[in-house]
Amino acid sequence: MLDKLGMYLSYPFVRYALVVGILIALCSSLLGVTLVLKRFSFIGDGLSHVAFGAMAIAAVLNITNNMVIILPITIISAILLLRTGQNAKIKGDAAIAMISVGALAFGYLLMNIFSTSSNLSGDVCSTLFGSTSILTLTKKEVWLCIALSVAVIIIFFLFYNKIFAVTFDESFSRVTGIKAGSYNLMIAIIIAVIIVLAMNLVGSLLISALVIFPALSAMRLFRSFKKVTIFSAILSVVCAFSGMIISILAGTPVGSTIVAVDVFAFAICYIAGMIKGGMLK
């Protein structure tokens, strides 16, 4: 088994995939805690469908570097969704549901009508579930992924305390002079970037899992924001790494394997949390 792993690891594209996968997992878990706590768990899902629609547009227009289209469209949608959350005629969850299914339907429609590919359902499946796209990244895309991930991590690190304050109590932080609106905007943009990155790894249907599972698992076990954040980052990286290794060895699809490992980890954390809670009482 180790030989097999060694053989795979000697291919540069496998190594790229591992590095990119770990970075993406790290980024996506960082904001997971904030999203879960702000009751925005579903926003990841909505945005990923938007990204799917954008990808369909890119495919139809025959743009090879599809990030150019996907990233701005997703960022704009994220801003719209988070902004309307506060004072909109259509409330948060309904708006997300509307945009997400709408984008999904239009994406598939576009791909169906204009697609030149002979294997349409295969294409759709791989954008939805990620299947192998992580292994087919070009060197340029790998560097883009790394740059964006590092940027997300640095921004999160620098604004950690502000993100905490805005998440915990938006009106209080407004009163103390924090520009809560700008930070919400920043959070929205970061989420959009993460989603576009994570599409490569797990596909657009499974992104939410990558964002929320580590956070939810960590919240079962830890009691401070810092510990929850750190643990969810570690857990996410471990799950993504082992998920990728398992998928290489067992020949299973990357995205769904990672998510399955995440679900498994959540189950363990849930039970551990119950035992821990029982001991405290």
């Binding site: 305390n161 009106s171 209080f172 407004r174 103390t176 924090i178 009691r223």
Partner: protein, 236 residues
């Protein structure tokens, strides 16, 4: 010079006016209680005072060297906070955000300030406890300590005792009264008129009739008499 001067203030949402032509003054060291029926616009008034919401008309003048972000605010609890995994220390420290500006991390003075305020509120022992596992009274103390980190001069409390049992409620009132004696100006929203009359020195009554004055004047006024009679009949 007054700390806060409110002139001809009208407030409400969009085009819907809740209150019109409000005038009152808060001086340094005052303990002002804002009372009124549900829906009379108490919370809207506080939000307007804090600039969370723009007034429809009129002015809020701040003076005596009070900066806009030097007001300590104790909001009503939100649902989000009920299962928030955060330690007491993290929450109290977040009160210092106002001083931080764009600096990403807290400095020594701010950490010391947080420690001091946790001690002041008697929650030092709970420092590493999780906020969501505390009792209602303890949670309010945490939020009060956070508010104290943001201010040295003025505290605005939005129903600080709602949902607390009688014993904890009176402890909370004593704590606030003590802060007032230490020189912090208090503005408190409450519908507990008995406590308002016991602890506050000024009353602002909003609703169909608006009254502002000292508590002695309030007890003598028509609005006060009516409201007191109503509460005695209703609550007890």
């Amino acid at each position: 010079m007054a700390l806060l001067t409110i002139q001809n203030l009208s407030l409400g949402y969009d085009s819907h006016t809740i209150l019109e032509d409000l005038n009152f003054v808060v001086n340094k060291g005052d303990y002002l209680c804002i009372v009124g029926e549900n829906g009379s616009g108490k919370t809207t008034l506080v939000k307007t005072l804090l600039h969370l919401q723009e007034p429809l008309k009129g002015q809020i003048l701040i003076d005596d060297g009070l900066k806009k972000n030097e007001i300590g605010y104790l909001p009503q609890q939100t649902i989000v906070q009920k299962d928030f995994p955060a330690s007491v220390k993290e929450i109290v420290l977040s009160g210092c955000q106002g001083q931080c500006g764009l600096r990403p991390f807290y400095n020594k003075e701010e950490k010391a300030l947080a420690e001091k305020n946790m001690e002041r509120m008697g929650i030092s022992a709970l420092k590493s406890s999780c906020y969501r596992e505390l009792s209602g009274g303890q949670q309010q103390r945490v939020l009060l300590a956070r508010a104290l980190c943001a201010t040295r001069k003025l505290l605005l409390l939005d129903e600080p005792v709602s949902g607390l049992d009688p014993k904890v409620t009176s402890e909370m009132y004593e704590l606030i009264a003590q802060l007032n004696q230490e020189g912090i100006t208090i503005i408190m929203i409450s519908h507990d008129i008995a406590a308002a009359l016991r602890y506050a020195d000024h009353i602002l009554h909003i609703g169909d009739t608006v009254f502002f004055g000292t508590k002695e004047e309030y007890i003598e006024s028509d609005a006060g008499k009516f409201f007191l009679a109503q509460q005695k009949g209703g609550d007890i």
